[in-house]
Structures are given as C-alpha cells and as structure tokens.
Amino acid sequence: MQDGLLFAEATSQDDDWDGIAAPGPADDGALYLTIDGWEGPLDLLLELARRQKVDLRAISILALVDQYLTYIERAEAVKLELAADYLVMAAWLAYLKSALLLPREAQEEPSAQELALRLQIRLARLGAMREAAARLMARDRLGRDVFPRGAPEGLAIATRTRWRCDQFALIEAYGRVRARTAPVVHMVRERPVMTLESALARVSAMLGVAMDWMRLEDFLPPHADPQLRRSALASSFVAALELARLGRAELAQDEIFGALRLRRAG
C-alpha cells in the first residue's frame, strides 16, 4: 500500500458507498452543525485526519488534537449534548497534547510519541476497513451486477425406497391378524373342588372309625392344594351339619371362631 493512497482514495470514494447512513465529508461549516452524524469519537477523528489531506503517517497529531478540541468546544457552544465518549476522548487528547509539548525526557512510559503513534495506527486501521468496505460494496455483486441462472432446472434427488420384509414377518403378521380377530370363546377352567357328596361319604366314613372328638380340619385331605382345601373345608362343614341333623354326629364349639369338633353320636 502506498502511503497516502488509503485516505486519498477513501475520500474520493466516500460518496459512492452503497448505503451510507452517515454524512460524507461536507463543507467545514457543516461539520460543526451536528454531532449525530459521527459514529463515535474515532469516526470524527478520522474525518478530521482526512482533512489534513496527507498520508496518515505524516499527519500532525497536534493539529488533529486541536481540531477535535475545537470541534467539541463549538459543539458545546451550540448547546449540543455531547456523548460521554466524545468528552472522554477530548480529555484524553488534551492530556496527549500536553504530553507532546513536554520535553521528551520528562515523559513517563509510554511516551506521548508512542501514544500518538497508536492513535495513528488506530485511525489507519479504521480507515483501512472503511476503504475496504467501499471496495467490497463496489465489486460486481451477485444479484446486482452479475446474475445467476434465472430458472435453473435444479438437480433432483429422487429417493427410491426399497422395502424390506421377509416371509416370516409376512406369515407372522397374518397369524397376528387372525389371532387378534378370531371369535372369542370363553371357557371356565376346571378347578379342584370337593363335592358335598364326596364330603358326606368321607366324613361319615371317618366318624365310623373315630373314637373321640375330632376337629373338622382333621377330616380334610391331608396334602390337598390350598384351593381344594378351602373347597373341602366348606363341603365338610356342610356334611357335618347334615350328619348332625340326621342324628349321626354331635358338634361342639367352645367359643366363637373356636375349633369345630365332632364325634359319632350315640
């Protein structure tokens, strides 16, 4: 990059930017009328620097500082409310100016010259991006200067599905349908029970050989499963009542819910 090119070009292209919201360089008088147009202190400084119309590296920082401070003073004079950013920058530039005017030996680190250089670099960097933006916007842009095909046929991606299913799945599915929709027949499962007749026969036979009182439970089949046992208990109880009614057995119970005992009558 040639020295000076950056800003010389940027100035000349300023008005050509695509869609600039802020004002471009205007007459000196206009510069002082508004502060709203500037995008912050750095933007204002850059514009002031450009007005020196020299390479930014050869810019007079002192002159720049004076211009900025003058601008801020005049803006305040016309009762513009200055953003804090502008005032902070003004204060910092006032400090920089005084430091630049001091003898070099008396300066602290970093030196005023160094700070001035950094400010210069910063302005150069912003200026470079501003110019880059302008050059970018001025390129042959797709949809503005060059155009893609208006009605492309398009690249179709046809998805073909290969369905997977095997013989077993097919047959199984049919079985499932048939099983699901088969007429339902309700069958009550056979359950182990002791009928009253067999209980009567069993109890009277056992009473025939028993010598003394026996508990009702003793008449039940000894190894029956719980369901059969419940059935046998009920049947045997009814059988015992029947035998007592016929006068063939005596029943005894000592207390409520106590053991029910029976023996042969007579």
């Binding site: 991606i157 290969r162 369905w163 049919y174 929709t181």
Partner: protein
C-alpha cells in the same frame, strides 16, 4: 473450444436468456437490448443456438419464446437417485399378508379382516414396492377396487405360488396364532400397537 469471441449482441442475448426467469420472445429481448432490430436479434439467436448445438446446454425456441435448457441426453445426470432401505411397517405387513391370503380383496374387506382402519398410504406403499397391484373392481354397489399380489411378491418372498403360504392349521401348530398374548420384544398388545404405530389407523367399532 470456442474459437472466437461472440459479437456483443450474442453476448447480451446469452446473458439475458441465462438470467431470465422465463422464456423470452424476440420482442422482449430486443427491448432489453435497448431497442435492437428484431431481425438482427432473430439472426443472433439462430447463431447462438448453433453455438450451443453440441454442448451440455442448448438454446431452444418454443412457441416463439427462447430459453436455455440442459441437453436432454444428460437428463440422467441431473436426476440423482438415492436408494434407501426401509423395513415395512407392521400395519403394511399385515395388509400385505391379508392380500396374499385372501386375494383379490377390497380395502373394506382388508379392514374387516384386520379389525382396524387401513390408511390409503399403506396400500400405496405396497403398490410402490411392487408387491400388490390393482386387480380390477368388485361388481358390487360402489364397485370397490380390489387388490392382488404380483409375481414380484412371489419372487421377493421366495414363494413358488400363493399355495405355499401356510394354512391356518399350520399357523396354529407353529404357535403363530398364540403370539398375541405374549408381549414379546417388539410385540405390543394389538390394539395398543395399532394406535401407537400408526396414528392414521383407528380401531373399528
């Protein structure tokens, strides 16, 4: 490939037709070119068409309007096919089985056998797979479409004929009619799975 630069009018026509969203006639093209003579435009178009004659893109005229299109012999390149394998859904498998066992059947008959409504998409899938086909219409009121399996179905499932499908007695012997009570790995109770698996299908009342 191109031996000389096209003349300015040909270039302009080329760009205009390329960028256009629809075919353009000679008049419209002439206007775009700042009122060019229509005979010159027509001549330039003919020259341009010849330029593109052997290329992958051609300039064609249809009903007096011109446009670029890709050469027809290259259509196969522009339509890429991607193949994906998918497992047939449980519902579709059931429908396929019913068609195979009962063909020809109408959709209403399939639903009566399945005990659930069958979405049209299920039959479409089976027809797309090439396993069932429309076999005519049943000559009853409403003339419903009836479906039957295809030779491709027999090929795919390794069957010489539909008679090779096991009968009900064999299904029972194989335990396939009992499976409904066993909540196996992917087997849900039928009613629940129909609703979970395919929201389009609802149990018939």
């Amino acid at each position: 490939m191109m031996d000389s630069a096209p003349d300015p009018m040909a270039r302009a026509l080329e760009a205009a037709l390329f960028a256009a969203e629809e075919p353009l006639d000679v008049r419209a093209l002439g206007e775009m070119l700042g009122g060019a003579d229509m005979r010159e435009v027509a001549a330039a178009l003919a020259g341009l068409r010849a330029d593109y004659d052997t290329r992958g893109v051609r300039l064609v005229e249809r009903g007096g309007r011109w446009h670029f299109e890709t050469a027809p012999d290259l259509a196969h390149l522009l339509r890429r096919e991607r193949e994906q394998t998918r497992r047939l859904s449980r519902a579709a498998t059931e429908v396929l089985a019913i068609v195979a066992y009962h063909e020809p059947v109408s959709r209403a008959e399939i639903e009566a056998i399945r005990g659930v409504q069958t979405s049209a998409g299920t039959l479409d899938v089976l027809m797309e797979a090439g396993w069932i086909a429309i076999a005519g219409r049943r000559e009853v009121p409403g003339r419903p479409t009836i479906y039957a399996t295809t030779p491709a179905f027999l090929d795919h499932f390794g069957l010489a004929s539909r008679k090779d499908l096991p009968g009900i007695a064999e299904l029972r012997a194989a335990g396939l009619l009992d499976r409904i009570d066993e909540a196996g790995d992917d087997e849900l109770p039928a009613a629940a799975s129909e609703q979970a698996g395919n929201p389009d299908e609802r149990a018939l009342d």
